[in-house]
Amino acid sequence: MGVTNALNVVADSPLDSLEPASPDAEAQAVFAEIRAFYERTDVPVAFRRVAGDPGYLADLWGAVRRAFADSTLTRRHKEALAFAVSVTTRSSFGTAFHLGEMRRLGVGERGVLEVLGVTQMFSSYTKIADTLQLEPDMDHIAAGDPSPAPGGAAPRPAARLPEAP
């Protein structure tokens, strides 16, 4: 959600003038990685606009690649989430970009409409809930997550209070 918004906010703003006419070699190397990752010949505008600072571009790209690479969640699913975020935030760039990525990764028309349907329904529910100031009443359904941070230690068991004599 955060990374998607980071790209959308730059791409949807009138920042054409920031795109360097001739990106330097360091930026070109990052562009090559971006083209390979997305299997396309051009570089999405969100990256081109920050290419004037190649170090920043490289770090931004590293974060985007890490966020969208196959992991516990598939890349296909992550693109669907990014599409939902982009539609919800009315991002023209993000909506078109992630719709294209979903299709490229094999999501069919039915799948696109499924994600759009969920996005639309929950855009409705969230507004109703906020307007009526409904208080969360379903958060206890899910079990708590006891897993540690990646690479970290398992949480210690809660300390037991001493028993009364």
């Binding site: 699913h77 499924e114 969920v118 529910y125 307007t131 009443d137």
Partner: protein, 84 residues
């Protein structure tokens, strides 16, 4: 605090109470009271029934699983800063 009075499930007519039972099965959870959103949407069955069916259709497994769709719902709720 809600801006409307949330009715107890027992205040709804019997057909609506049956829908609340269906909601329990959908969530696989035995609520003491149906979720606030269910009770709000049941206020106008003509609206709530269509809206509820559209939601269930959208959330049903298809190209994406129910769990994947719940994550989509979560990010939309997050973007809209909706705690509910």
């Amino acid at each position: 605090m809600p801006t409307v009075r949330l009715r107890d499930a027992s205040e709804y007519p019997e057909p609506i109470q049956k829908l609340f039972e269906v909601a329990k099965a959908w969530f696989k959870y035995d609520f003491a009271q149906p979720p606030a959103m269910s009770r709000v949407m049941a206020w106008d069955p003509e609206l709530g029934a269509f809206h509820g069916r559209a939601m269930k259709r959208a959330m049903a497994p298809g190209e994406f699983s129910r769990a994947e769709k719940e994550m989509v719902a979560a990010v939309v709720s997050g973007v809209n800063a909706c705690a509910y």
